[in-house]
């Protein structure tokens, strides 16, 4: 239960008087408030700095350390104060949270220290007010990234391998972190060298060399020294192939490796050679073969393994793809518009170079980027006019916004990232706060299951019921009053849907309804102090025992103040009050005509087969050391 609504509890309870004329059952007894109602000032000593506050202020948030009885552990009898050996500066903020209901993040504090304090005092950071939330999130993200980097760097290569590393692991490590061993370093440099050699060879083989003796025409070096170049190429390809295969072998996850960008580059770099080997030497396909050679230039991308900067550039381009795409799109729009206009303007001219709109694209682009090659020039007056408009707008469209785009790009990029972050985290944050709230909602249901419904029997109450604050007691009492007024009970979603399903299957639930509504008097008002388990009855045994399972009345587990009464009748199942652990055997003895011991799994829900003779309530809660109850309705 959140915030300062604890203050309003007396009001809500008083307003419950309005339900009384409508109620058809008696109201349950209110919880006895043992603590004195008068407010007092508490002293809290945090490492020597003394704070004073009203007790009610701290009681506002009963699920924190200061609001619950946990603070009693820190009470110092001699000095009559609560002593905490924590940071007094931080405590100021914590206490302000109790006072005002809003948690602020002090900007000058370390984020981790702040979080630790919050964790100590039992406050979830999601409660931080909106005014400070963004700052908090940013700092936290920064911190986490820095920590992640540090741990990554730690783990990355320098830690020694475990002694039982296989050859694969060693190989992979050598590939990924070349500086770990000399061999790896050597390999790294050798491959780098060969990449450079291969790229240079590709470039040089197109340079014209002096012609062979007896011929005048210049030959490209590739043809003059074709043997040398092809040997070089073969050697490089062999080395790259070996490297790729070794990496493939060493990779811990081959599929992921095969899909990664670097491996694709590797494959593309060596593929043309192999394709060239396979393909026959004839004129038709040699053109295509030549094209394939172009792909050899991709070997230069292999350098990105050797260069951090290239990798970062690649990532950046990848990340701002949307902005670049938009720029491209707007440019395309302008190009199409002007090309169309120029084409139609120049249509009349004889011998014009603007033969079609696509042909005009070239003119538009050259003009707009202010290149102006001059290979296509408009002749007609209209063409010249539009041509000049085109070049002017080119200046505006491209030259001016480019710096703006570049600077906007950085801003928008960060902003978008932050907005998405905020959105994603907002959802998570809201989900967590909702979960905490739901905890409160479910707390009442759990409280019922724990048997909070019995009257004020102090022995057993102290025994079994969880230690709850006065506030929670009052709140649960209030909810019980509402239940009594309306004659209906609160349940959770699962039970509700089950009941609906069972109804639709035609089971008579009226009996259970009538029995459950007979909870008027407080003694038989069942002390459902137990977790309800779903008892799964095996289908086979059910069908066999169907004859005997004729009528299972509603079995209530009621509390007996004294003694141990073993189940005598079908209609009531009395359990021992002092018994905290229920073993299965009790139940099998108790539940007559269920031949099989109940298969327990608290979290399993009921299988929806019509053969099941009863409705059993599911329990949702975590493990309690309490008794079990079975509520089985009749067929």
């Amino acid at each position: 239960m959140a915030a300062g609504v604890a203050t309003w509890m007396p009001f809500a309870r008083a307003a419950a008087v309005g339900w009384l004329p409508l109620a058809q059952q008696t109201m349950p007894k209110p919880p006895v408030d043992k603590t004195s109602r008068s407010d007092e000032i508490l002293f809290v000593n945090v490492s020597g700095l003394r704070f004073q506050t009203w007790k009610n202020t701290l009681d506002r948030y009963p699920d924190t350390l200061l609001g619950s009885s946990e603070k009693e552990f820190f009470y110092n009898e001699e000095t009559q104060e609560y002593f905490f050996d924590r940071d007094p500066e931080m405590f100021r903020h914590i206490l302000n949270f109790f006072r005002t209901g809003k948690l602020h993040y002090p900007r000058h504090e370390c984020i981790q220290a702040f979080e630790e304090e919050l964790a100590f005092y039992g406050i979830i950071p999601e409660i931080i007010g909106d005014c400070c939330m963004e700052e908090y999130r940013d700092r936290k993200k920064e911190n986490q990234e820095r920590l992640a980097e540090d741990t990554e760097a730690e783990n990355a290569g320098d830690a020694p391998l475990p002694p039982d590393a296989t050859l694969r692991d060693k190989l992979w490590r050598a590939f990924e972190n070349p500086h770990t061993s000399t061999m790896a370093l050597v390999f790294y440099y050798v491959t780098g060298f060969f990449i450079a050699v291969s790229v240079i060879a590709n470039v040089v083989e197109t340079v014209p060399c002096r012609p062979l003796k007896g011929s005048i025409k210049d030959l490209p070096c590739g043809e003059k020294f074709s043997v040398a170049f092809s040997c070089l190429d073969t050697a490089c390809v062999l080395i790259f192939s070996c490297e790729y295969l070794m990496r493939l072998y060493a990779a811990p996850s081959r599929c992921d490796f095969a899909r990664s960008v670097m491996s694709v580059i590797d494959v593309v770099a060596i593929l043309p050679f192999y394709i060239g080997l396979i393909m026959p030497e004839n004129e038709e396909v040699s053109g295509a073969f030549v094209t394939l050679r172009v792909f050899r230039v991709f070997r230069i991308f292999k350098f990105s393994r050797h260069s951090q900067g290239l990798r970062i550039l690649g990532c950046t381009l990848q990340a701002c793809a949307s902005e670049l795409g938009f720029l491209l799109f707007s440019l395309t729009m302008a190009v199409i518009i002007f090309a169309t206009v120029m084409f139609y303007a120049e249509k009349g001219t004889k011998g014009t170079t603007f033969s079609s709109i696509p042909a005009s694209f070239w003119y538009t682009i050259v003009t707009m980027t202010t290149l102006g090659y001059g290979d296509m020039v408009p002749d007609s007056i209209a063409g010249k006019i539009f041509g000049s408009i085109c070049s002017l707008s080119g200046v505006l469209v491209i030259a001016l916004p480019v710096p703006v785009i570049v600077s906007n790009f950085a801003r928008i990029y960060h902003q978008n990232q932050r907005a998405d972050k905020m959105r994603a985290q907002q959802k998570v944050r809201q989900a967590r706060i909702r979960m905490a709230k739901k905890g409160a909602t479910n707390a009442f249901l759990q409280h019922k299951e724990d048997g909070g419904l019995q009257g004020g029997d102090s022995d057993s109450t102290a025994f079994c019921v969880k230690n709850r604050s006065a506030f929670e007691h009052q709140h649960h009492h209030l909810l019980q009053c509402l239940e009594k007024t309306t004659n209906h009970e609160f349940t959770d979603e699962v039970t509700y849907s089950e009941v609906c399903m069972m109804d639709s299957m035609g089971f008579r639930t009226s009996r259970s309804t009538s029995l459950s509504s007979q909870q008027g008097s407080t003694t038989t008002c069942c002390s459902r102090r137990a977790k309800r388990r779903a008892i799964r009855l095996a289908n086979s045994t059910v069908s066999v025992s169907r004859g005997s399972v004729q009528e299972l009345d509603t079995l209530h587990v009621t509390k007996t103040p004294v003694g141990t009464q073993y189940p005598q009748s079908r209609s009531s199942l009395n359990a021992r009050t002092g018994d905290l652990k229920l073993n299965c055997t009790d139940y099998t003895a108790a539940i007559i005509s269920i031949p099989t011991p109940p298969a327990n799994s608290p979290d399993e829900s009921l299988p929806n087969s019509p053969a099941i003779p009863g409705i059993l309530r599911n329990s949702r809660s975590s493990i309690y050391n309490t008794q079990e109850t079975v509520k089985i309705s009749s067929l």
């Binding site: 203050t7 009384l20 409508l22 407010d39 509402l482 004659n487 209906h488 609160f490 959770d492």
Partner: protein, 216 residues
């Protein structure tokens, strides 16, 4: 109680920085700072001790620093107690019941007077308060429609997931039962006297009434 309310005058210090505009209404709410009259006077008018009034006021002031509660805040607060269902309708009626001056906001005096009646008042006072809660249009009679509204609002607070499931027109049945009990002369409306008499005959209710004595 109406007489009591009529006799005491409220000293309000309203700080008006803006003109009374519809648009500025909300802003005005935050600008308005209401200070209640003195502790002694309130002590005289209610059945609370000074200490209790102090505690009440400190809590009230903390939650509503401006000194008044408007309906939205009220609904929000009340909804926190009933997370399962929708408490806004009932909170609306409750708000009207507390807001005796019907000006759309509850001041501390109204709040404390209401609490005093409910917690420390005589039986007749409590029943009268409840009657005024049910009598939505304040005409002195509770008719079926008003009662149905109230009952529906209460059932709304239960939410969807109840056991047994809410089937059929349960509120209507509830209202019928209520009228059967309360409406003695069967004229379709319940007057204050009928209400009080019928309630006093209902032992169960009388017992329940006693339970809420020691809430403070």
């Amino acid at each position: 109680m109406g007489v009591v309310l009529g006799t005491f005058s409220v000293h309000t210090k309203q700080v008006d920085y803006r003109r009374r505009d519809k648009i500025d209404d909300e802003l005005e709410m935050t600008m308005v700072c209401h200070r209640p009259e003195g502790l002694e006077q309130l002590e005289a008018q209610t059945n609370f001790t000074k200490r209790e009034l102090q505690i009440l006021y400190r809590g009230f002031k903390n939650e509503c620093p401006s000194g008044v509660v408007n309906e939205e805040t009220f609904k929000h607060i009340y909804a926190q107690f009933f997370p399962h269902g929708d408490a806004s309708t009932y909170a609306h009626y409750l708000f009207n019941a507390f807001d005796t001056t019907s000006n759309g906001s509850i001041k501390f005096e109204e709040f404390v007077m209401g609490l005093s009646t409910l917690l420390r008042g005589t039986l007749r006072d409590k029943l009268e308060w409840t009657f005024h809660l049910y009598d939505i249009n304040n005409d002195g009679y509770i008719n079926r429609e008003e009662m149905t509204e109230i009952v529906r609002a209460i059932y709304d607070m239960m939410g969807k997931y109840t056991y047994p499931a809410l089937k059929g027109d349960v509120p209507k049945q509830h209202v019928d039962a209520f009228f059967q009990k309360m409406d003695k002369n069967k004229n379709g409306v319940v007057t204050l006297e009928e209400f009080i008499v019928a309630c006093q005959e209902d032992e169960m209710m009388m017992r329940s009434m006693q339970l809420f004595e020691n809430v403070m």
